[in-house]
């Protein structure tokens, strides 16, 4: 048999029916993750047609997008003051109860961002197909799963049939050679990749990230990278599973146990792309040449080294690209050739499905520990799940952040999506560890610079966009 890529192996193993000239493939879905915002209309359709969820045991629901992250009341509950959000959450509870779907309800010990809880529970495993009505489902590809976001019509399709109609995507190898320097992280790699290929460069492709920098990376770093595949236009990004992956999965609640785990690992070892497997496209990034990255514009492709200068639209030849740059800089209130370093910010947001895991909080805490958040700066720290929150508290990280003057919040999407009360005011600048800097994404009129947790933490203590390497230099930094 011809050498196969990781993607092709997972794809072929899930074909209920292969693609023909006239018909898309029927692809089996192993795990369907569900949240409150993109599912209600699908449940409505199920009810209207009198359908059952085919595999409730392969479906898991949580609440994250419209949920507040404000501290709990005296009753121990998270107050939901927005009546529309409350109604949406109530609908979610009823839908899950009626259709027999397990739900991690708001504030309970397992609730959290949908892309944090899957891996945390060990329900995200190598070789699986995973979908969710959320474009950042690409996160789960870090485990060697084929995972992608779907629309609400497809949510209903998976509920009813556990299958999707799909045309086979193309493959792109993304090689990240060499090792990262201290202070440069997975987030900087993915911002570098997107700056290179552009926000539409990956459209129609499944990316496979490979190379020394990826191999040496923690699962959390790999999730950060796969998470933002969609910001380069790719619905899915994958990383071949290895010992790091197996160790992460082992012992988690939904992971196989004992001999079953050993058998699963033996199977997972066959997943990596074969020697000589061909990709439709290839890009390369040299990790050792990377410095911390930051975005200046209104899409994630508008990124640059933190030491760089904002581009000059007058030097762009394509008329529509020049217009887009003009529009972005006007919205961001930036001048051509301006440096972002030293620019005053109002808010620092540490959170989101990109960077809210325990590793992200630990990294940021290394910089924050014993220091104060600059006067006039609001720093929000929003753990990705209740379990991440509990772990951080067990390690005393909550105290590190609180003593510095940062807000320690409940788990959820928070200011990444600004539909839950956490948002910027018009004109405010934020350094955010999230994934999207679109106009208004973090609140109408808000202006977002995307960066790593280290850059966010360094910026929080100075109040100005800061290269974390200048802070790290002052301390021991593993």
């Amino acid at each position: 048999m011809a050498p196969q890529t990781l993607f092709e192996k997972v794809w072929n193993n899930h074909l209920v029916r292969p693609q023909t000239d006239d018909l898309p493939a029927v692809l089996y879905i192993d795990l369907h993750l569900v949240h409150e915002v993109t599912s209600p209309q699908a449940f409505t359709q199920m009810r209207e047609r009198g359908l059952k969820v085919r595999r409730p045991d392969q479906t898991l629901a949580t609440m994250d997008h419209s949920t507040p992250t404000t501290p709990r009341g005296l009753d121990g509950l998270i107050p939901v003051t927005d009546s529309m959000a409350r109604a949406q959450l109530d609908v979610m509870r009823k839908n899950c109860a009626d259709f027999g779907i397990k739900l991690f309800d708001l504030g309970t010990r397992n609730q959290g961002i949908v892309h944090v809880i899957g891996p945390e529970q060990g329900i995200t495993q190598p070789g699986m197909t995973i979908v969710c009505g959320d474009s950042h489902t690409s996160t789960h590809g870090a485990f060697g799963a084929l995972a992608f976001g779907i629309g609400t019509s497809e949510v209903a399709m998976v509920m009813a049939t556990q299958c999707l109609l799909q045309n086979k995507p193309k493959t792109m190898a993304v090689k990240v050679n060499g090792d990262l320097h201290a202070g440069v992280t997975a987030k900087d790699i993915i911002l570098g990749i997107i700056a290179k290929i552009g926000v539409g460069g990956g459209t129609g492709y499944v990316l496979e990230y490979m190379g020394q920098a990826i191999r040496g990376m923690s699962m959390e770093g790999r999730m950060t990278i796969c998470n933002m595949s969609i910001e380069g236009g790719a619905r899915a990004g994958m990383i071949a599973p290895d010992e790091t992956t197996f160790q992460w999965v082992n012992g988690r609640p939904a992971a196989p146990k004992g001999a079953d785990f050993d058998a699963a690992v033996a199977e997972w070892r066959r997943l990596p792309s074969d020697e000589g497997a061909e990709f439709d496209a290839e890009v390369t990034l040299e990790a050792h040449e990377l410095v911390p990255m930051i975005t200046y514009g209104t899409n994630p492709g508008m990124g640059m080294p933190i030491t760089g200068y904002v581009p000059d639209p007058d030097r762009i030849r394509d008329v529509s690209e020049k217009l887009a740059m003009d529009k972005a800089l006007t919205y961001m209130g930036l001048q051509p050739n301006e440096q972002l370093l030293g620019k005053q910010v109002d808010v620092v947001f540490l959170g989101s499905c990109t960077n809210s895991r325990i590793g992200d909080l630990r990294e940021a805490a290394k910089i924050i520990r014993g220091r104060k958040v600059a006067e006039g700066v609001r720093m929000m720290v929003v753990p990705g799940s209740q379990q991440v929150k509990a772990q951080a508290e067990a390690e005393g990280l909550d105290k590190v952040f609180k003593e510095a003057g940062a807000e320690w919040r409940e788990a959820g999407c928070s200011m990444c999506i600004a539909m839950n009360g956490d948002q910027l005011s018009p004109g405010q600048y934020a350094v955010s560890t999230s994934n999207r800097n679109f106009e208004g994404r973090q609140g109408k009129g808000g202006r977002t610079f995307l960066a790593s947790p280290l850059t966010a933490a360094a910026t929080a203590i100075t109040g100005r966009v800061t290269d974390p390497r200048t802070i790290i230099g002052e301390r021991e930094f593993a």
């Binding site: 006239d22 949406q88 609908v91 397990k102 329900i123 629309g151 539409g200 690209e321 887009a324 679109f438």
Partner: protein
């Protein structure tokens, strides 16, 4: 879904690259549990002042563009999130088709599932359509799905690509969910030969 037939409609241009789904429908409107009623919020942040009054200079607000059914968007239209609220909002605002040089994947899928046609044309045609829409607000185009053509006001026909299955479903009003449900035996056979990996009941 109703079958799609040939239609003619007035065009309006929004020639901005990389229009993301957060612009098409900002997240704060996603707290609904219904798909109807999103038209008024379509392009909300570009369309309204902070006091809610319409911005007169925004193309969709201009009196001469009222009733437009074909939106000419910039390159890489619909990038960003998977929210199907984006096509729901565009259709709620009266659009039947979006013409661009390039569409983001998930948006395109969602649009096709709802009968909002994503029409890809070459760069020259795209530029010509934008100029026409801006010069004469009564500019109309005819979209013929069966022939996969857009007819410009000067009578020129340009073809556009669409995958065969989506076209068949749209032309005939095929219910895709019904089609896959009809494969129940095949799905069960797959399940019986592929050991189940996980159970969400084991989460804790």
């Amino acid at each position: 879904m109703e079958p799609i037939k040939t239609f003619s409609g007035k065009v309006v241009a929004l020639p901005i690259n990389d229009i993301d789904t957060d612009q098409i429908i900002p997240a704060r409107y996603l707290k609904v549990t219904d798909k109807n009623g999103l038209g008024a919020a379509c392009f909300s942040d570009w369309r309204y002042e902070s006091d809610g009054s319409p911005k007169p200079e925004f193309p969709l607000n201009k009196p001469e563009h009222q009733g437009a059914e074909v939106l000419i968007g910039g390159h890489n239209f619909g990038c960003g999130s998977s929210r199907e609220h984006a096509p729901w909002a565009l259709m709620g605002a009266g659009f039947k088709a979006v013409i661009s040089t390039y569409f983001a994947d998930i948006f395109k899928n969602n649009a096709l599932k709802n009968g909002l046609l994503p029409v890809v044309v070459d760069k020259d045609t795209h530029e010509q359509l934008i100029s026409l829409a801006q010069e004469d607000p009564n500019t109309q185009v005819t979209v013929n799905l069966a022939e996969q053509t857009v007819t410009l006001p000067d009578g020129r026909e340009v073809t556009f690509p669409i995958d065969g299955f989506s076209k068949h479903c749209l032309l005939n009003g095929v219910d895709q969910l019904g089609y896959v449900m009809g494969l129940d035996d095949v799905i069960s056979a797959y399940e019986s030969t592929h050991a189940k990996r996980i159970s969400t009941l084991q989460t804790s």
